[in-house]
């Protein structure tokens, strides 16, 4: 039994550490028998939000994540709309869709090529997807950097700047709509759509084809199996169906009911008194001396089951993607992501042409410009990485409680009260962790790139402590984890005293050891 630690886990958003317990007796390669994921950065945005003007939530929650700020913006503004009791005008609904759509495209392009692309490029023998270390490599990689920038340009026409745009208010948006804005957005969108359909979707098809030709498909297709439960809240309404989630472009889980969400904390450092509660009822109370706990991430569960979230979940729930493996895999998460970009791109063109310059984009709420004395609101939305929920409570014109449950909270969750692992931990189980370097690994698979990897000096890649971490890295990255917001509280080091909100703890450490 060996242990492989991956820290820092690069090419994701945020600070993630993964510990793998490896069973050396398995043939032909040792495999992972247990995995533990822990976030290693805590910022406490929810604590910062307390006592502020409710409208500030739009600006502050965006700063949770710089890759998908629009998702937090949309979720918080929906919660605010509900709290202020106002329905945005049609133009505003479309502009919010366009802003989120552009960001989803940018995030998916970034993930497909820059964050995860190099691994698929090596495994499926696609030199276009590798970083441009030689003139013959990386054509699509370089193009992707340019196209993701175009998506941000499109967004900033309506958002002002990106990341962290500036144009939402409860009751609508702030941008004065002119025909020239619509036209310059549409030009960029057409260019983006062409890239996505001609290059990105095409590349995703080539990955499958090449893997089949290389005889690696059978190994890869079962790699990173999830739980088979797919959660989505729904995203991208049309103005006429704004009130009915089931008619939105991306559909929620069939029969979705927000009240069935529970956060489990048996293996997280929180007081067990607050386990299995709805996010809006929970109090965050640290309990760092809990013997079995090993993470500061809570374990959200829906209807008592472990759910995976992300583009694959959305595509399956919307009936736009047919699963090859009933429980999904790392490859299918990537394919679904590519498929989703082309669906969003098509819809974007429609939304942009539906805009009506000259008509209003903002509607005053009842008490404008004052804020309501006390109110509650829920914002459920689809971030590029999966289902995102904001729960807001206003008391005496100030934020009294703000809870955020992010996609990575679901995907990277620790075990729950029944001892079931989260989707990412489960997907890592049984993953081969060869005891050879990348050259040896590729050679053992009979891969034609083996010699090339050696000549590029890449044979040592992902090989340390006697294990090759390539496959676990691919599986973790396929979830597109975004750690910045999934951690509510954190401490490191064994027995180091931690001051938290004026109290002193003596925690047992970020990760209990595997022995106990």
């Amino acid at each position: 039994m060996g242990v492989l630690t991956i820290d820092p886990l690069t090419r994701i958003e945020g600070h993630l550490k993964v510990e793998l317990q490896v069973d050396d007796s398995k043939e032909p390669f040792p495999t992972v028998s247990q995995a533990r994921c822990s976030g290693t950065l805590f910022r406490g945005i929810e604590i910062i939000l307390k006592g502020r003007d409710p409208r500030d939530a739009f600006y502050i929650t965006q700063r949770i994540c710089g890759v998908c700020p629009t998702a937090h913006a949309n979720a918080s503004i929906m919660a605010l709309d509900e709290a202020f009791g106002v329905r945005p005008p049609d133009n505003a609904i479309l502009i919010r869709n366009i802003i989120q759509g552009a960001n989803s495209l940018m995030s998916h392009i970034l993930h497909f090529y820059i964050l995860q692309g190099p691994e698929w490029g090596v495994l499926a023998n696609l030199p276009e997807m590798l970083p441009p270390v030689k003139a013959s490599l990386g054509k699509h990689y370089v193009k992707a950097i340019e196209m993701r920038r175009k998506a941000h340009e499109l967004l900033s026409i309506f958002g002002g700047k990106m990341p962290h745009h500036a144009s939402y208010v409860p009751g609508g948006v702030t941008v004065l709509l002119t025909p020239s804005k619509v036209a310059s957005a549409q030009t960029r969108m057409v260019e983006l759509k062409n890239f996505l359909q001609d290059v990105m979707v095409h590349d995703s098809e080539r990955i499958v084809r090449n893997l089949k030709n290389l005889g690696l498909y059978d190994l890869v297709k079962t790699m990173g199996k999830g739980t088979g439960n797919f959660l989505s809240y729904g995203g991208f309404p049309k103005p006429e169906t704004y009130e009915d989630r089931t008619k939105w472009l991306l559909k929620p889980t069939p029969g979705f009911d927000e009240r069935e969400i529970r956060e489990n904390v048996k293996y997280s450092w929180y007081d067990e008194m607050w386990t299995n509660k709805h996010p809006s009822e929970r109090e965050t109370k640290g309990c760092p001396e809990k013997p079995d706990a090993y993470s500061w991430i809570t374990a959200p569960r829906y209807r008592g089951e472990v759910y995976e979230t992300g583009p694959l979940a959305r595509m399956v729930n919307s009936g736009m993607y047919d699963l090859m493996e009933p429980k999904g895999s790392a490859l299918e998460r990537t394919l679904a992501r590519a498929k989703e970009t082309s669906i969003i791109a098509k819809a974007m063109i429609e939304w942009i042409s539906d805009l009506k310059p000259g008509e209003r984009v903002f509607k005053r709420w009842e008490k404008y410009p004052d804020v309501p004395d006390s109110a509650e609101g829920i914002g459920l939305w689809e971030a590029p990485r999966g289902a995102l929920g904001h729960w807001l409570k206003v008391e005496a014109k100030k934020i009294q409680r703000y809870q955020v449950v992010t996609p990575t909270n679901w995907n990277a969750s620790p075990r729950d009260d029944q001892g079931r692992s989260g989707p990412m931990e489960k997907a890592l189980k049984e993953t081969p962790v060869p005891k050879v370097d990348t050259y040896g690994f590729l050679a053992k698979l009979g891969h034609p790139l083996a010699e090339k990897a050696k000549s590029l000096g890449l044979s040592d890649l992902n090989y340390w402590d006697g294990y090759n971490a390539t496959l676990p890295l691919m599986i973790i990255r396929s979830f597109d984890p975004c750690l910045a917001c999934s951690v509510h509280l954190l401490t490191i080091g064994k027995g180091r005293p931690v001051r938290k909100l004026g109290r002193t703890f003596h925690p047992v450490g970020l990760h209990g050891s595997f022995e106990n």
């Binding site: 991956i6 090419r11 910022r43 600006y59 710089g66 026409i157 700047k161 208010v169 948006v173 180091r496």
Partner: protein, 332 residues
């Protein structure tokens, strides 16, 4: 900045980009740069690591680097032996319990790399002044890089490039200045004067005319000045209206009031963002004011001498003319 180097000796800079308590937004923003774009920056500006490769990748940059885990951390050691070491820090430095990289507190990593760096750039408001993470009640004890280095008694200059996120061109142009062996002149908050010397109004905000005419918007989605809706443009020093974001626009153009994200007081001084708020004029500390007075004194004196000399000259001219006229009259 203890060692000044000539640019001619090197092909480029050696970049180590570390991320603390932040949101990766500054990285995403850096990737938005154009003319040169990110790939060109990497090719032109960064030291080539492997001679056979056509591109220089940063030594350490978690979001884009090829390696992970232990291998990634080895890259930092390689950077320490490089020639022109530039350290870019994104995100605030939070208390040692709250941010960890490779099993070590982020604080220690900053202190260690800062010792080796020839130039330190704090990119984004979090790294420069603490930013959003250090907002009241500052649950993680976060602060900016400058403040942290002072705490640890590490005397190094920091170039602050605030903004939430930082503008990509601010970083690229600063890297260019470093390549030329020049330090951009900084204001008293450590920001390059070229980018942060003037406020939004002095940089020709397109809605300034409405401000002068006192036509203020009362609803969102209109074309008038946003001052009464909470715009902090008159007191925020940044060149956004002239430089533009994402090549297209900036917050006020999209009807979003400026929230003052490049100022040291962001976000607490600016919140609540949608309320009109007269910011108190900045009060300069006495000592720096004294220094500035003394340093500006010779120029001021010279100006005075010039004025008095010209007054004297004119007076002489008039008096002479008058005298001449008088003498002519007397002669007659």
């Amino acid at each position: 900045m203890n060692r000044r180097k000539s640019s001619l000796e090197f092909n480029g800079v050696d970049l180590c980009y570390i991320q603390g308590a932040g949101c990766t937004g500054c990285t995403v923003s850096f990737a938005n740069c154009t003319d040169p774009n990110l790939v060109e920056v990497l090719q032109r500006y960064l030291e080539k690591l492997v001679p056979a490769w056509d591109i220089g990748l940063p030594h350490f940059y978690p979001t884009v680097m090829v390696t992970a885990g232990k291998q990634a951390m080895v890259s930092i050691d390689a950077w320490k032996r490089a020639k022109l070491r530039v350290l870019v820090i994104e995100g605030a430095v939070s208390g040692s319990e709250y941010c960890e990289v490779a099993g070590r507190p982020f604080e220690d990593i900053v202190a260690e790399t800062a010792e080796y760096a020839d130039f330190i750039i704090a990119y984004g408001t979090c790294a420069a002044y603490g930013g959003m993470v250090s907002a009241t009640p500052n649950p993680t004890g976060s602060r900016g890089v400058m403040e942290f280095l002072k705490e640890r008694h590490i005397s190094k200059h920091v170039i602050n490039l605030p903004g939430c996120p930082g503008h990509p061109e601010w970083l690229v142009l600063t890297l260019s200045a470093i390549l030329k062996g020049k330090l951009p002149p900084l204001d008293r908050h450590g920001r390059p004067k070229d980018f942060f010397g003037k406020d939004l109004h002095e940089n020709e905000c397109p809605r300034r005319g409405y401000y002068e005419a006192e036509e203020f918007a009362t609803d969102f989605g209109t074309k008038e000045c946003l001052f009464k809706l909470g715009c902090r443009g008159p007191t925020t020093r940044a060149d956004c209206p002239a430089r533009l974001w994402n090549n297209t626009t900036f917050c006020v153009n999209a009807g979003g009031p400026c929230i003052g994200c490049t100022e040291p007081g962001f976000p607490d001084q600016m919140s609540p963002f949608y309320a009109e708020k007269e910011l108190e004029p900045e009060v300069e500390p006495l000592l720096t004011r004294g220094f500035r007075y003394l340093s500006e004194l010779p120029a001021k004196l010279l100006d005075k001498v010039r004025i008095w000399l010209s007054v004297f000259g004119i007076a002489v001219f008039i008096v002479r003319g008058v005298l001449k006229g008088l003498s002519r009259k007397i002669e007659k």
